[in-house]
Symmetry: C2
Subunit: 218 residues, 2 copies
Amino acid sequence: MSVITIERKVLEKNDQLAQRNRLFFEERGIFVLNLVSSPGAGKTSILEKTFLELRGSMRAAVIEGDVQTDLDAQRVAKYGVPVVQIVTLGACHLEANLVQDAMRNLDFTGVELLFIENVGNLVCPASYDLGEQAKVVVLSTTEGDDKPLKYPSMFLNSSLLIINKIDLIPYVNCDLNRLKNNALQINPKLRIFEMSCTTGAGFPEWCNWLKKKDVSSL
Amino acid sequence: MSVITIERKVLEKNDQLAQRNRLFFEERGIFVLNLVSSPGAGKTSILEKTFLELRGSMRAAVIEGDVQTDLDAQRVAKYGVPVVQIVTLGACHLEANLVQDAMRNLDFTGVELLFIENVGNLVCPASYDLGEQAKVVVLSTTEGDDKPLKYPSMFLNSSLLIINKIDLIPYVNCDLNRLKNNALQINPKLRIFEMSCTTGAGFPEWCNWLKKKDVSSL
């Protein structure tokens, strides 16, 4: 019972800090998305391709969260995007205070769009508000169409679902319609994008949506 | 600081219970493997194919761990293997006490091999001993060759690495040698199997190893 109480306190404290982050972003008109997924679903690849598509039209920044290494920050920095890496040293999710620390090290001049790439984990990050406008859950077709049912919290707490690696459907055991039905069964309000970083499928629609920053549709 | 103390106490308590589980298994000569991976890396598919290969030669049982649903237990039960499903209701890993509860509901008569399929999570289950002889980390090629560096604890705490979905290498951005080098950089003692549930590659070697129950080689 004591553990549950502490968890609640941790979450309450986190939510307060997240709200402070959210106010900071809203005052500056910065659209903030919290990217969550299993390891290897393609969050960083999606960012890389998104920055190529958005080049010249929208200034973006990134906060990277990883258990170890700054490999993802190195990848993203190549696109000329301001990036700060948070290394959690074993912790399985980002929390609002870590994001706050990272924000102090980012130059937000002219930034309209901030991606927070969470630790690769389809369970724990679901419970932590970071101050984002929306969570975007990325699920790759190679993970199988049953995952929304098996990890429902993440799909319930997200506003968008990116189904990634749709080019691999012919080679894997994944029924796209079943995947979408399973996701919508958990969260009927999910907005779904079907994408592939290899073929570029879905990126025009995704980037158009980003440019509109249409929070009202979430 | 208080949180750290509580975490330590939780882990100490867990380790004591795990040791009790281990004694139970050792007294009965049951070989126990704790399967860990990201969601969708193929743990359940590997079990299904393993049971097909082992049929008639070795009696196995399964403890399934999932955040929600008994979908995996249903899949495994089709192979005539005794199985108990643990639903963690949101918790991101199995602990020794949950395994102990599951053990009470399993008939171990004649069982030589027990698989504990952990929650799909490449971070949290690394810290929890369940009483297994070895952790087996499953990494699929679709997740990318950088994952051992980004999630080192799991690779450090595992004795075996199954590289799964090797049939998909032509279609994904994964260098098999780099993957193996990254894994061995974290843990030079890792024993590596390269497998595919689609083509059956690697299953004869894996099943031969299981039949030997060669703990000394770990």
